[in-house]
Symmetry: C2
Subunit: 487 residues, 2 copies
């Protein structure tokens, strides 16, 4: 054997892997897992169980899956159940329809852009949602989750990763704060990150077009600002855009020649008083052909969120608006090789998008489950705001939609120093202490980004109400102690 050298070493691994920074949340999750194992082994702790409040995984938080979706899927996996009288009529009917549309089995590969039936029924959902604005099924691309959808889009749109931050680099406007997966995907694609700040005061993390303007202007020369990423309703902010705000953004994108990449996965979860979800597509169409015939838009959605909350199925979709036909045909191979939506996931998604109709046997249960989704988000949001408002040094903007809120935490200067000596960010230091002492894992805000010197944590609104209550009580006690210790 002549060669002693390894092939895959730190030096030889793709530079793309080097670009990806680890998340602080991963350290927190790892520690939560260790604590859980210690408790199992009988190690004494000041708490009985570890509670995770950082993630957006509804079912992991204890939310019950939607009965109709699960019944339909059970029958699709095991069609013998169509003979059973355990399943309601409309479930059987739906399952039969789905099976017919995938050649009789959920075990087949899907077409490149998804099953034709699923494309059609996603389009039908969008038309109904948008009050009749037309949607062509050919513009619907199914993907293995909406995160994958975002990655695929970035990899198409970032065309000059080679030149780093030179004037030819593809600039992507990214909100602060923002889901970490999007920032990672952008690092991986090699685009230039152009952070725009959401308003950390006033109503709730509003988007200010002047801020977009500032970012684009100062970016020109360093890179080519090309893509504007919007997340509405917002994670982790809980913000829901008004029609006026959306119109402003569209006008801005049009005048600056920006591609709109709109992440609308929380569209079913708007609970703020007087707020309603409006899709960018709908608003764009209602602004007339001057805009609707030209502004390029890709909107993404997912089976993971909303009432369904089926994170494990990994299915989402893109709707393209004004996609260049040549790009469409060129990129077919790219999507074919990469979108790879699971067939089972597509069936979950399309079932989630079409609820049973009034009069059908599953209508009542579905309606209840869906109302309970919204009402528990809304009750939890009220509880969080009320509880945190009581705590000196914590300030939260009242969420209007989505699964999260993003309170600002005052962290004493001594902590900032101490964290630094330990090589931790102040927010991670805070979260790890809270976890260690109270067994509660909240998300360290710096994974999401923040203004210099401001610190945050992310909390989801998905826990059962009583559990959330006790988490908030723990947070209050912890925060007071912690502040005292370091003052």
């Amino acid at each position: 054997m002549t060669s002693l050298k390894k092939v895959l070493t730190l030096k030889e691994v793709s530079p793309m892997a080097h670009r990806l920074t680890g998340l602080k949340t991963d350290l927190l999750i790892a520690r939560a897992e260790e604590l859980r194992k210690e408790i199992k082994q009988g190690v004494k702790k000041p708490f009985k169980e570890v509670i995770e409040v950082h993630s957006g995984d509804g079912q992991a938080m204890g939310t019950k899956p939607v009965t109709f979706i699960r019944q339909v899927m059970a029958a699709c996996f095991y069609p013998e159940l169509l003979q059973s009288d355990r399943l309601p009529r409309d479930v059987k009917f739906r399952a039969q329809e789905l099976l017919q549309q995938c050649g009789g089995s959920v075990g087949v590969y899907s077409d490149t852009f998804g099953l034709e039936y699923v494309q059609h029924n996603v389009a039908r959902f969008i038309e109904e949602r948008d009050g009749g604005v037309p949607c062509d099924p050919q513009n619907i691309y199914l993907t293995a989750g909406s995160q994958k959808a975002g990655q695929l889009l970035l990899n198409l749109l970032v065309h000059t990763s080679g030149c780093g931050s030179g004037p030819c680099g593809t600039g992507v406007l990214v909100p602060v704060p923002c889901s970490p997966w999007f920032s990672l995907a952008l690092q991986e694609a090699g685009g230039v990150r152009l952070p725009y700040f959401l308003a950390d005061q006033g109503v709730c993390w509003e988007l200010d077009v002047q801020e977009l303007q500032r970012v684009v202007q100062s970016a020109r020369g360093h890179c080519t600002p090309s893509v504007l990423y919007i997340n509405n309703p917002g994670n982790p902010t809980g913000h829901v855009q008004s029609r006026q705000s959306i119109e402003e953004v569209i006008r801005f994108a049009a005048s600056e020649g920006l591609y709109l990449l709109v992440d609308e996965v929380y569209q079913d979860s708007v609970f703020g008083q007087g707020r309603a979800f409006l899709s960018y597509k709908k608003v764009l169409y209602e602004m007339g052909p001057e805009f609707s015939s030209r502004v390029e838009l890709a909107a993404i959605h997912s089976a993971s969120k909303g009432v369904a909350g089926e994170c494990g199925s990994r299915c989402g979709f893109i709707e393209f608006v004004n996609l260049d036909p040549q790009v469409k045909s060129l990129s077919a191979s790219y999507f074919s090789a990469n979108s790879l939506p699971p067939t089972s996931g597509q069936l979950v998604l399309v079932t989630a998008l079409h609820s049973p109709r009034a009069g059908e046997p599953s209508y009542y249960t579905w309606t209840q489950e869906s109302q309970s989704h919204l009402s528990s988000l809304s009750r939890n949001a009220a509880l969080v705001v009320e509880s945190l408002d009581r705590i000196p040094g914590i300030r939260v903007l009242s969420p209007q939609g989505g699964f999260f809120c993003f309170p600002r935490i005052h962290i004493p200067p001594l902590v900032v120093q101490e964290a630094e000596t330990q090589g931790l960010s102040p927010d991670l230091f805070y979260c790890l202490r809270f976890l260690e002492e109270w067994g509660v894992a909240v998300g360290p805000g710096s994974d999401f980004g923040a203004r210099e010197g401001s610190h945050h944590i992310r909390l989801n609104l998905l826990l059962p109400h009583d559990k959330l209550k006790s988490v908030l009580e723990s947070l209050e006690k912890f925060h007071l102690q912690f502040t005292e210790e370091f003052s």
Copy 2:
């Protein structure tokens, strides 16, 4: 509105999308789909239905899913079924175990590398398969299918895509013929493709180490040969490597310092007389520490093939052997952001890997279904060989495993000219004519690669026996007519 220019145009789209060439099979599939629609609309055709024989999708070919897997999945999706007496005891037991391991619901996100339980049980499967060779669950990475696994690996291993085919380009040895997805993934990653030819005569597409040697030697200077991709059992060849052949390849990889990327998705489907599947991992370990402590290997497998044939679940895994610990820790973010294995798919996979035991209620059915998988592949292989051997101008090497065979077709020189004027490859011209006249879609060989001037088609061995028989009869008639027409 100042800007009239589109953002996402052919000029602006990522160069990666430009690199990906379309597949000829896609044209064939599109035409098959059109024909199907024409028939539905009542257009008269010389055939009653369109039969596709090109794909590797067992259930789309009519294979019945494995009862045990489907029953377990139905119960995981709808746990109320655990109360029903429609499901056997061992099914319920298994489903309960799975549910426990994913926090009670298949609707949750999975951990970065997959559910811990799934990692453990994949490792247990590998140890049993390899006669006790140890497997550390920490080396098992679950992915959204084995195609995704291969893409992820290539994107890690190809570290110098920037320099094209310069001396610093990462060279990847790829068999000819080879699954098109792998060649596409390599184009996308930007590696330098180094084709090595499998032996198109003798027993069945054997791998010759001298050929590997020739390729590596002539590549040095143009690029850095770094990765050797092996597909055993082979698609589309049907070849199954012997222990001796695997040992030779491992010795070669060791002496040349190549990373072994081994695709073993057809491991459960070996039917050739005197042939058995041996994993590279097992052979490597049995060659002793001189090799087993140093040769770097990543082996991939999938729920899509074998008895399970669950293509729609999109789940596969990588086993790493001798992965550099620094690379392992660096690449955690990369895998976390990209592998995204569906939770439901992981449950399908792990169920497929662990059959019911003797004495359990589902044992008999499983055993029957599993035997019928192998015996029908074997019967179909014999039928194909016998039928094609009769046809002058067609020659097939007898497949020993996997789902395919890859007959060589003599295409008259006149056809080659005619195809050229139409802008088609000769094999696609042949396949389209066969489809048009007989309603049968076989795979155009040039998607898989071939020696200059030799033409092939790919046939799967998955059709019901009688249907395959009539397909082969059609092929005989077509081939004779076609040859006469163009002679």
